[in-house]
């Protein structure tokens, strides 16, 4: 579904991502893991078209989208749920959801809001409240639901576990598995390597802007040396 080759991202003279190549198969959860500042979010933002792409190609469903603007990419089927605190805090929960469906017809948006409120009933209860007044976990749910409102072929998720209590993290990850079972393709960026490897089928370990290890999540988890060297799990 997604095929990225030799992706380079540079902010002025600072190169944040070097020669990253990765693939995401339809219906899979693929994770990008690695320490803070490794360039994981830059990769997602380059896919979304909001980070400066220096070189490389991004092919999505057979189309090269690397020259498209951010909103064209959303139309093409790539939506991002940025990390939780990036909801539109001053706008209501419902308005956040509506804007997530900005590029969809109005009738579909209404139906989808109903669906999101079934996934996360709290979003219905707090529909009229300012998104900024929600708890961290609720904001994360809103960010994911808002991403889904675009009905993306590929959902990009940036650090859904960031700053959340373990129980909430569990809930979010179980939800992601449910989404995958319903056929949603997900590219997941996580610092929380153990959780991410548990739900993903394939993983890339990013360090200093490049891929240092990649493989099936199950095998990476079994490899003690990788755990110690890159994941800090041992």
């Amino acid at each position: 579904m997604l095929r990225v080759r030799d992706l380079q991202v540079a902010y002025g003279p600072v190169i944040a991502v070097k020669n990253v190549s990765l693939d995401v198969a339809s219906g899979a959860i693929v994770s990008l893991i690695g320490p803070n500042g490794a360039g994981k979010s830059s990769i997602l933002n380059a896919l979304s078209g909001v980070a400066p792409l220096k070189s490389g190609s991004i092919v999505f469903n057979g189309r090269d989208i690397s020259r498209m603007s951010a909103h064209q990419r959303v139309s093409a089927g790539i939506a991002q749920a940025p990390e939780g605190r990036r909801v539109l805090a001053g706008m209501s929960v419902r308005e956040n959801l509506e804007l997530g469906g900005y590029r969809r017809p109005a009738k579909e948006v209404r139906e989808n809001i109903g669906k999101m409120e079934e996934y996360f009933p709290v979003l219905r209860q707090k529909s009229k409240m300012a998104a900024g007044s929600l708890s961290g976990g609720e904001q994360q749910m809103l960010a994911i639901a808002r991403g889904l409102m675009a009905r993306p072929g590929l959902l990009l998720l940036d650090e859904p576990s960031l700053g959340l209590a373990p129980l909430v993290v569990r809930f979010i990850f179980e939800f992601l598995e449910r989404l995958r079972d319903e056929g949603q393709t997900i590219l997941l960026v996580e610092q929380n390597a153990r959780e991410a490897m548990e739900i993903s089928s394939y993983a890339y370990v990013i360090e200093s802007g490049r891929i240092v290890v990649e493989g099936a999540s199950r095998e990476l988890r079994r490899d003690a040396a990788i755990e110690r060297a890159y994941l800090g799990l041992a």
Partner: protein
């Protein structure tokens, strides 16, 4: 006592025009975090072009009002394309945008000066039937009522659009976070252009109403309202639409009350701006600001 109430009413009338002017100012500030200092020049050109349309084409006032408002909106698009868009990708675009908007203001004013001349001009006598109403000792004209109705009406329509329309919601999203808006698939450049169009159309409409109210227009008419508009949006809270409306009316009333109470019209601006200073000291975020202090 009735003089006092009469003055309050007059202040309300002119304050509604200040509010209409300021609402466009604050709209652009809210979305781009940039002060558009060419807003007053658009105000001037809006008023002068409406007058020109009325005098040379013989169109009825309402038709020239609509056309000149549209023209002001288009000027806003030119303004954005020339003065702001090329600078947006630079790190210091807030300051350079401010400066380039001053440059555009000067260009617009020079254009107005060349085209319309330096003299103060008026709408032709008998253009519209003005009726005078008396209630007890209070007096106001049908023209004043129409002006305040149009100003308030435009402000209400804008507020409703921002609250409920798809584009209005997108504008608010861009105002909160441009990056998040782009991630949601909102075409940010187009939304900003539309914001400039709406802001400038309202600024132009304010210029026309101002010209009708005082029946005097000239290439320098923007000067007097430029600082007042800035004061109004600081008073109301930067970026706040209801704040701009309330601030405009409060400012208009404080002006006329000063004259009414002291009898000295030279004190008008001094007192109005003293009120502004006081508000800044007591409530730095403005009357309806969101608590967070703007460094403007």
């Amino acid at each position: 006592m009735s003089v006092f109430i009469q003055q309050l009413i007059n202040g309300f009338f002119i304050g509604s025009v200040y509010g209409l002017f300021a609402i466009g100012y604050t709209l652009v500030f809210g979305v781009l975090d940039i002060l558009n200092l060419a807003h007053a020049a658009i105000f001037t050109l809006g008023g002068l072009s409406a007058l020109w349309l009325t005098r040379t084409t013989g169109l009825p006032v309402w038709a020239s009002f609509c056309l000149a408002t549209l023209f002001s909106g288009l000027l806003g698009l030119v303004l954005y394309r020339v003065a702001f868009a090329p600078l947006r990708r630079r790190a210091d675009s807030n300051l350079s945008g401010l400066i380039s908007s001053i440059a555009m203001a000067i260009i617009f004013e020079a254009g107005a000066f060349e085209i319309f001349g330096a003299r103060t001009v008026r709408f032709p006598q008998g253009m519209f039937a003005v009726r005078v109403y008396h209630f007890d000792s209070l007096t106001f004209t049908s023209l004043q009522l129409e002006i305040v109705a149009i100003a308030l009406g435009l402000m209400v329509v804008l507020s409703l659009c921002l609250k409920h329309s798809r584009t209005g919601k997108a504008m608010r999203a861009v105002a909160e976070s441009e990056t998040t808006a782009r991630l949601l698939g909102i075409p940010v450049e187009r939304i900003i252009s539309e914001t400039f169009f709406v802001s400038s159309a309202l600024g132009g409409a304010a210029g026309i109403l101002f010209g009708l109210y005082f029946n005097a227009l000239g290439p320098d008419m923007g000067r007097s309202i430029e600082l007042k508009g800035l004061a109004v949006i600081i008073l109301g809270g930067m970026g706040s639409i209801p704040g701009a409306i309330l601030g405009g009316i409060a400012f208009g009333m404080s002006e006329v009350l000063t004259v009414a109470l002291t009898g000295m019209s030279s004190l008008r601006d001094a007192v109005a701006f003293s009120v502004l200073l006081l508000i800044l000291i007591l409530k730095p975020s403005g009357l309806l600001g969101r608590g967070r202090i703007r460094q403007a």
